[in-house]
């Protein structure tokens, strides 16, 4: 067992840190606001990813021929950690980078990889994920958006929902039903849809945070070239499952959680609650330590997952719990922050006298969304019990 990163990796970390200090735009420094929502911020976020890419810090572990560096996963992990520690904004091309990219590398054709991967890296093209539908959330495989084959095109009709960032995305990786007569998991295909295609309507949905991060997307006879099929026809479920695994990993990142925990402790030490610093209250102390224990457990848990990845081992049941535990933990941290703030808790971001710029309030709501998104905690528990413990389907 060796907890430290190697000397050369630590030297690399220093490089990254120094580079970030010099290049991170002051204006975008913020721990929250994962998703930018106005055109000006979208542009800035794209510029930021491009800058990062020119420095070689985006998807370093992708193969060289597609614009990556063939670096090991440790390097990318270090970059990700440093980005969070520097409070850099989240990467705008995250879905492309963390979900579609790995999927294309595994299942895409050579042409698809050469066409799409380079622009994912540079954020020239932003991707959104077209999975959920009004009637297909947790039971994703019951999706109904149809794609009929006409000549060498798919003709797509239907609706997606909860589509993050669709309002400024250039492309969507999308699950469509290509065989309505097959059992539900076997009639689905994975296709890439140009969001500028005629027949697509995007309607933003306002979240409880007040932001419009996700959307409804409607398809009315949208034509998609057959060449945009990823994997085999009707085999999209398998392809998507792979993508979902990447998504759960993405949602389970722990560096950010550690930072939130530090901020929470600072808040408890500085904010007076009932006449004394909150951290002096034995019950608050207990709850802080309880959260700290969970945060530290997840930190070392992530090192274990990283080690498995380095050694090329199967992720196993441990990887399945990351999303479930990670998202609930983030939400619980914010919940305690709100309790500590007491009467100040319901103040909105930007309000007079709001504490810590309203970050906690925003995150409290935002993190509840993460408990739901990417498969609710209940869905995660089904996955853990069925795939991890071999318990039978609920019938």
């Amino acid at each position: 067992m060796e907890l430290a990163y190697s000397k050369t990796d630590e030297a690399f970390r220093k490089e990254v840190r120094a580079w970030l200090k010099k290049n991170l735009p002051k204006k975008d420094k913020a721990i929250s606001d994962l998703m930018p929502h106005d055109p000006e911020r979208v542009k800035r976020a794209k510029d930021w990813q491009r800058t990062l890419h020119s420095a070689g810090y985006v998807a370093m572990n992708w193969p060289k021929e597609y614009g990556g560096q063939g670096a090991d996963i440790v390097r990318q992990t270090i970059v990700n950690e440093e980005l969070v520690l520097a409070r850099a904004p989240g990467m705008i091309g995250a879905s492309g980078l963390q979900m579609l990219g790995p999927t294309l590398i595994q299942y895409g054709t050579e042409e698809q990889r050469r066409r799409y991967l380079p622009t994912i890296l540079t954020a020239e093209e932003i991707w959104c994920q077209g999975y959920s539908e009004p009637g297909a959330g947790s039971d994703l495989a019951s999706l109904r958006t149809r794609a009929e084959i006409v000549g060498d095109e798919f003709v797509v009709n239907g609706q997606k929902v909860w589509t993050s960032n669709a309002q400024f995305s250039d492309w969507m990786f999308c699950l469509v039903r290509t065989d309505p007569d097959a059992p539900k998991h076997r009639g689905i295909s994975y296709v890439l849809i140009d969001m500028k295609s005629p027949g697509i309507t995007v309607r933003p949905l306002v979240q409880m945070t007040g932001d419009a991060g996700f959307n409804e997307v409607f398809f009315d006879n949208v034509r998609v070239p057959r060449a945009n099929l990823v994997g085999e026809l009707n085999q999209g479920w398998m392809v998507a499952n792979n993508t979902l695994f990447h998504e759960r990993n993405m949602l389970g990142s722990t560096t950010r959680t550690q930072l939130m925990m530090q901020n929470l402790i600072r808040l408890a030490q500085t904010h007076q609650r009932y006449g004394k610093p909150a951290a002096n209250d034995p019950i608050v102390r207990q709850r802080l330590s309880s959260l700290l224990t969970r945060v530290e457990a997840m930190k070392y848990h992530s090192y274990r997952q990283l080690t498995n990845a380095i050694k090329g081992r199967a992720p196993g049941v441990g990887a399945m719990v990351s999303k479930l535990v990670g998202t609930e933990l983030n939400h619980d941290i914010c919940a305690l922050a709100l309790e500590i703030m007491n009467s100040y808790a319901p103040l909105k971001k930007g309000a007079a006298r709001v504490i810590d710029n309203g970050t906690w309030q925003y995150e409290f709501m935002f993190t509840l969304g993460l408990v739901i998104g990417g498969g609710t905690s209940e869905v995660q528990k089904n996955i853990i019990s069925e795939r991890g413990l071999g318990m039978p389907k609920s019938g």
């Binding site: 440790v74 207990q286 090192y303 080690t307 049941v317 089904n382 019990s385 318990m391 039978p392 609920s394």
Partner: protein, 377 residues
């Protein structure tokens, strides 16, 4: 970065599991429940033959010279099997105290015998008010020309009835950490009386030990006069880590037993494992055990190689596993339904051990407060 077990550690895990499946099945645990001392010298010797009793002991004294992480791997397996007996106290805690603070004569006298399984050591440090901090040690040892005389009571001494030697924590000065001494005391010394405390976890026997006008020579001091706390606090960190490892194994085993049972037991014409209420309960246990395992490894690794983090890591692991083991066994009993509540079923061995582990060496509340202090908030 390599946060995983080595090949050797995985082999140890494997061979320990095979050995204990063979030598310590639940029928054996059950038999030990009714043994007067809850101890099988035969099993202890067999474990010695595996090298386990001397796992931490340097090769020069007849051991394997391995570290706490190896010990944690082994203890997890022992927790899985709910191994009855003094192993954890003798071959881990007592041994570490001696390695840490013992004179070469003391090491020479005891370590090889512990390694071979011929001798058993234990710790006598708790007193009536059950405090695990330095102020809790109040049993006074009066200095004499040749050593000390002491009278008083030590509580909850594990396996005192089968121990050859006790490490007794006494107060030789003041009230704080700098007035504690550790004394080696052979159990059959005149003036030592032990009486068993009736305990529901019969895999972990504890005793009340009364000392009456005991005379201890200077040569019996471990870690220097008045300097015992330094050794003892490290032993407490070791104990937290060791109990966390045992708890991890016990929790994992309880989960497996419960899940296996739900796959066979049918109700409403289907296995109860197909009911979401039980699937979610099982998944919640997994999502607690998996991160907890990482904390146990971290604590053991920190004990070996990151001295500045060791206490914090030990508290993290103990706080976490105290709760995880107790909650897991609660739910595992429930997943078994009525049968899980019976004496006839094995589940209660782990359920009871979880309670023992939960409160020994500081419960979750205690360690969370200790963490808060270590973190400085």
């Amino acid at each position: 970065m390599d946060f995983g077990l080595s090949e050797e550690q995985e082999m140890l895990q494997q061979s320990a599991r095979e050995f204990l499946t063979q030598e310590c099945p639940p029928t054996f645990v059950r038999a030990m429940y009714t043994e007067p001392d809850g101890f099988s010298r035969e099993l202890h010797r067999k474990m010695a033959a595996q090298g386990w009793t001397g796992l931490l002991i340097p090769e020069a004294h007849g051991g394997l010279g391995l570290g706490m992480l190896d010990m944690a791997v082994l203890l997890e397996e022992m927790g899985r099997a709910a191994v009855p007996g003094p192993f954890l106290f003798s071959s881990n805690l007592f041994t570490l105290a001696l390695m840490q603070g013992g004179t070469s004569a003391q090491k020479k006298q005891w370590l090889p015998r512990i390694a071979t399984g011929d001798a058993v050591g234990t710790l006598a440090f708790l007193e009536e008010d059950d405090r695990i901090d330095a102020a809790g040690i109040q049993l006074k040892a009066k200095k004499t020309r040749d050593g000390y005389t002491l009278s008083g009571t030590k509580m909850f001494v594990p396996f005192a009835a089968v121990a050859d030697v006790l490490l007794v924590a006494v107060r030789t000065k003041g009230k704080a950490e700098d007035g504690i001494s550790l004394l080696l005391l052979e159990r059959d010394s005149p003036g030592v009386t032990i009486s068993p405390l009736d305990i529901f976890d019969q895999t972990r026997r504890v005793y009340e030990v009364t000392l009456q006008n005991i005379i201890v020579p200077k040569a019996a001091v471990v870690g220097g006069e008045d300097q015992g706390w330094k050794v003892l606090s490290r032993v407490i960190d070791a104990a937290c880590t060791a109990l966390a490892a045992d708890s991890l194994g016990g929790a994992q085993k309880s989960l497996e037993m419960a899940v296996d049972y739900t796959k066979i037991r049918t109700q409403f014409n289907r296995p109860i494992a197909s009911f979401q209420a039980l699937k979610h309960m099982a998944a919640e246990i997994v999502s607690e055990i998996e991160p907890a395992r990482s904390l146990v490894w971290y604590a053991a690794h920190a004990f070996d190689t990151l001295p500045r983090e060791a206490s914090r890591a030990a508290s993290l692991a103990k706080a976490c596993l105290s709760e995880v083991y107790a909650q897991t066994t609660n739910r595992a009993v429930q997943m078994h339904g009525g049968i899980g509540f019976t004496w006839e079923h094995d589940m209660h061995f782990w359920f009871k051990r979880a309670k023992w582990n939960e409160f020994a060496f500081g419960d979750a509340t205690y360690h969370r407060e200790r963490l808060a202090q270590l973190e400085g908030f």
